[in-house]
């Protein structure tokens, strides 16, 4: 599925991994999270091969529990780790304020908007602990407008979280907008065919998407993506 992929992630940094479907980008996240083990080689997190419970994983769907309120949904990972409920809720409440969720602590998931649900899910991911946050197409299920709002919000919030982030996406524009470095994965067997360090300084806003530089880099990444894919009409 995947051929030698080498990644270096640093605290505060944000890497985006773009690739065609079937390139194994989700497999890579699973490997890093510890959900799967590699057939050969090793995955280490801070030098440790035991990885389950040491990073925050954010899936595409929010997967919030209807039987818990919003704050209770954010605290599940802490409860798994044995943190007392009261203390877990206190910690989550701090994050809720930061995430613009203040006042919705006791709301049930079905009472929240799609964007708010996703922010609760990110709060849950952040509270799960670890220095690394893995985002598996986190905004893929949202409508275009909510998706743009969530990207803007994440762009603004990310530096304050002080974590290393790895975002998997098939959206080149999202990758360029959010990440410090964009990696392009080829189709199966997946390997990195392009590395692009973002020239856009932080703090960064949606304005960068309107610059000629952004357009040029986007085309360049799309090209790299296309090179990793079977072209229509090409040999199979």
């Amino acid at each position: 599925m995947l051929e030698s992929v080498t990644l270096t992630l640093e605290r505060g940094g944000f890497i985006a991994l773009a690739g065609p479907s079937g390139s194994g980008k989700s497999t890579l996240l699973n490997l890093i999270a510890g959900l799967e083990e590699p057939d050969a080689g090793a995955v280490r997190l801070n030098g440790n091969t035991a990885r389950l419970g040491r990073s925050g994983f954010m899936p595409q769907r929010d997967l919030l529990h209807p039987w818990r309120d919003a704050l209770g949904n954010a605290t599940v990972a802490l409860e798994v780790q044995g943190v007392a409920k009261r203390e877990a809720r206190r910690r989550a409440a701090v994050l809720f304020a930061e995430f613009g969720l203040a006042g919705f602590e006791r709301a049930r998931p079905h009472e929240l908007s799609g964007g708010m649900r996703q922010r609760v899910a990110l709060a849950r991911t952040v509270l799960a602990g670890g220095d690394l946050i893995l985002l598996d197409e986190p905004f893929g299920a949202l409508d275009a407008l909510t998706r743009a709002q969530m990207q803007d919000w994440l762009l603004d919030t990310w530096p304050r979280l002080n974590r290393a982030g790895l975002l998997v996406t098939h959206d080149v524009e999202e990758a360029l907008l959010l990440a410090d470095e964009v990696l392009v994965l080829s189709a199966r067997p997946g390997r990195i065919v392009e590395r692009l360090v973002s020239p856009f300084a932080r703090p960064r806003g949606r304005g960068v998407t309107a610059t000629p530089e952004f357009g040029r880099l986007k085309l360049h990444l799309l090209d790299a993506l296309g090179a990793g894919e079977d072209r229509p009409g090409g040999p199979r």
Binding site: N30, A33, G34, L35, L52, G53, R54, S55, G56, F57, P59, R61, L63, H65, P66, W67, V76, A77, E79, V80, Q81, R108, H110, A128
Partner: protein, 261 residues
């Protein structure tokens, strides 16, 4: 208020029409009350026999409650075992199905033979008829947990037991309640049948003596009491469901089909 009236009016109306038609038929044809008593006669007989009915109904209620609680406990243990161990699933499911194919008519007299005329065999009959729908519903509910949720909890470092308690059990609760509501409609009938084949006290044995002495009005009275008990228990289950899993209502109200043997 008006919504409640609109919901309750049709069944109330239909019931009244049926009762009036029944009473009218009995009066018009002057059929012997030992064959078919009218509802009015049944009501009077019930009031006259209220102390006897209550004395026997208490015993039936006790057996029903004990049998149902036993069934819940066994069902939960079986469902958890089925969920945790694949071999348990393979071992238990055929037995569960077979347990349902054995006619209760054959089992109930045997239970009396083995355990006597006391409360125990009735409790066992109730447990036998109740536990199957609950095991199946609970096992199915546990298995319906989305794999994505399991993966998410694994990334938290959750143990299998933690995943069971924090995810699988709450996910399974609505299905379990559906099974429990089906089971509870069987439970009273199970107890009455258990008594019918041999008991010193209970609605079942009262039913037999009433039938043997051609007190058809009392037989009907007991049908009424049994139905009332079943309905009350069903209502209790619905109430418990609303209190314990309020979230299940917002995710679409599904009602168990009411059924009886």
């Amino acid at each position: 208020m008006s919504a409640a009236v609109r919901r309750l009016l049709p069944p109330a109306l239909l019931t009244t029409v049926l009762l009036v038609a029944w009473e009218g038929y009995v009066r018009a044809t002057a059929v012997s009350p030992t064959i078919l008593p009218g509802p009015w006669r049944v009501l009077r007989a019930s009031i006259d026999a209220r102390e006897v009915l209550w004395y026997h109904a208490r015993q039936t209620m006790l057996e029903t409650a004990a049998g149902f609680v036993l069934a819940v406990v066994v069902a939960v243990i079986c469902a958890a075992a089925i969920d945790f161990f694949l071999p348990a699933r393979r071992a238990l499911f055929p037995l569960l199905i077979v347990s349902q194919t054995v006619p209760i008519i054959a089992i109930a007299p045997l239970l009396v033979l083995w355990f006597g005329y006391g409360t125990l065999p009735k409790v066992l009959v109730v447990a036998l008829v109740c536990f199957f729908p609950m095991v199946v519903a609970a096992a199915h509910g546990l298995a319906s947990t989305e794999p994505d949720l399991t993966r998410l909890y694994r990334t938290f470092g959750a143990s299998r037991w933690q995943r069971f308690v924090l995810v699988r059990v709450p996910v399974a609760l609505p299905a379990f309640f559906t099974g429990a509501k089906i089971a509870i409609t069987y439970s009273v009938i199970g107890a009455v049948f258990g008594e019918y084949v041999g008991a010193s006290r209970g609605l079942g044995i009262l039913l037999q003596t009433a039938k043997n002495s051609y007190r058809t009005d009392l037989v009907f009275a007991m049908i009424g009491v049994t139905a009332g008990l079943s309905l009350a228990l069903y209502g209790l289950a619905v109430l418990l469901e609303r209190l314990l899993i309020p979230w299940a209502r917002t995710a679409g109200d599904h009602h168990a089909p009411e059924s009886s043997t």
